[in-house]
């Protein structure tokens, strides 16, 4: 029996003024699936993620969280972030920012433990006290991932989070993600241009092209197909 669906996109379409991005997108995402979202620059991957996050009102169709609106908790690692070199907070404090709510200003002992736990899982324990402005690109990506994970989401969206990483770090990061995916049934949407990585880690793919979308089990995604899709402009 298949896992329950947690996210349903129906006839989803987004059009910016005079600029259709995608249309008629139908997609059901089930708990525990690991989707790779591929497609050339500017085709609308980030836009789709923002629609899924309800940050952007779709022009047509809708995005539904299942079984109800409160049952999906999303952790999102966005493609871009403004953190300059004199950004003051330590990695630990940055990760802790995500623990919001109507609570005391200071973190409880339990919250400290949660942060320390996620820092350990992402391999950041030794760097916890380093100001994030002084961390390397890869260390920052790990910190962003840790921040997204600290609230125990059940859907994780990675928007090209591995693009600037070296092969070893990239594998480390995705190994962690797939481990959470398997152990906790964390559902993952992984936006990437890296087809071998997509094939290695994901179970399904969604390819956006200017002419439409294609989806299926990951075995159907080949580099040749991606090139084909990207040619049809």
């Amino acid at each position: 029996m298949s896992e329950p669906a947690i996210l349903k996109l129906e006839n989803l379409g987004v059009t910016f003024p005079n600029h259709p991005v995608f249309a008629d997108l139908n997609l059901t995402i089930r708990q525990g699936e690991f989707w790779s979202i591929v497609g050339k620059n500017g085709v609308g991957k980030t836009t789709l993620m923002r629609a899924i996050l309800h940050q952007l009102r779709p022009t047509t169709g809708k995005v539904t969280y299942l079984p109800n609106a409160n049952s999906v908790k999303i952790g999102y690692v966005p493609q871009f972030r403004n953190i300059d070199s004199d950004y003051p907070l330590t990695i630990k404090d940055f990760v802790g920012l995500n623990l919001t709510g109507w609570k005391w200003p200071w973190l409880s002992r339990k919250e400290h433990a949660e942060i320390d736990h996620i820092l350990a899982e992402t391999g950041l324990t030794k760097l916890a006290k380093r100001p994030i402005g002084q961390a390397s690109g890869g260390e920052r990506q790990k910190a962003y991932l840790a921040q997204a994970l600290v609230e125990s989401p059940n859907l994780l969206i990675l928007d090209e989070s591995t693009a600037s990483l070296d092969p070893v770090t990239k594998t480390e990061l995705l190994d962690l993600v797939i481990e959470l995916n398997q152990r906790l049934h964390l559902t993952v949407l992984f936006v990437t241009h890296d087809i071998p990585m997509a094939r290695k880690y994901s179970s399904q793919y969604l390819m956006l092209t200017p002419d439409g979308v294609e989806q299926g089990p990951i075995s159907g995604l080949t580099q040749a197909k991606v090139w084909e899709g990207e040619k049809n402009v």
């Binding site: 940050q55 999102y76 966005p78 004199d86 003051p88 404090d93 919001t100 709510g101 200003p105 921040q147």
Partner: protein
């Protein structure tokens, strides 16, 4: 010097101001709002001038103007590209209005100077009480919305992704800044207000790496500046804002130099 009531009042007021500016300053710096803070203080000048013209306490005129304009600015500049141009236009308008109100009120130039540059002798015990409850109000709101404000200030992208009510937060914060500006202007004057709201926090950023740490350090630096400034001003008879400005600027440049040395190693 504490045998004079006005000096006791000035120290009490200065202490309140340093605490509120240190804490609010950390968020002002994190949100890149120095420029807007400067504009709010110019608007505060205009409000104080209006207060004088209307026969109110200058502080009440300031509160009225800064709070209303912070809501307007917040609405106008939800998009950051527009913010600088919009705030420049608004600030030009308000400085002009301030000058107009002062001339309509038929007050002499020294009155304008004390609004612009602050003064020590004018602070009464009831002024101190009003500043105290306004500051308590500001700090209380910060306390309640602290986790949200912290996330939005130090990681706006992350906060938006999480669907925090970031627009409401920015307007709320602007109103809090407006209140702080009005309070702090009582001593350092509206022109130099942004010194206390920005420099201690900007300095703290180089030494402390947690939000709490930055607040503590910023409050400490602001307190040193205010207390030393008041004392020096009492002894020398030179304006207090000069000393505060000089002390805070020296701290800031020392911090920059220290940072340079650190990174050069």
């Amino acid at each position: 010097m504490f045998s004079y009531e006005f000096m006791r009042n000035a120290f009490a007021a200065g202490t309140i101001i340093a605490i509120i500016c240190g804490i609010m300053g950390v968020f002002v710096i994190a949100r890149n709002m120095s420029f807007l803070t400067h504009t709010l203080s110019e608007i505060g000048f205009s409000g104080a001038a209006f207060g004088v013209f209307a026969g109110w306490a200058p502080l009440n005129g300031m509160l009225l103007f800064t709070v209303i304009s912070s809501v307007i600015v917040g609405q106008l500049s939800a998009r950051s590209e527009r913010r600088e141009a919009a705030t420049s236009a608004i600030s030009a308008l308000f400085i002009g209005l301030g000058i107009l109100f002062l001339s309509l009120a038929n007050k002499n130039a020294s009155y304008a100077t004390s609004i612009l540059f602050g003064s020590v002798i004018g602070i009464s015990a009831s002024d101190v009480r009003q500043m105290l409850w306004l500051s308590v109000l500001v700090l209380l709101v910060v306390f309640v919305i602290y986790r949200f404000l912290k996330f939005d200030s130090f990681d706006h992208t992350g906060a938006r992704v999480k669907g925090l009510w970031t627009n409401t937060l920015s307007i709320t914060f602007l109103v809090l800044v407006a209140l702080s500006v009005s309070v702090a202007a009582q001593i350092v004057g509206s022109l130099l207000i942004f010194i206390l709201l920005t420099l201690p926090a900007a300095t703290a950023k180089y030494f402390a790496h947690t939000v709490g740490g930055m607040m503590t350090l910023a409050v400490g630096l602001a307190l040193i500046g205010v207390w030393a400034g008041l004392t020096l001003s009492y002894v020398t008879n030179y304006p207090v804002s000069f000393f505060i400005a000089a002390i805070e600027a020296v701290f800031y440049f020392l911090a920059l130099g220290w940072q340079k040395l650190q990174t050069a190693e």
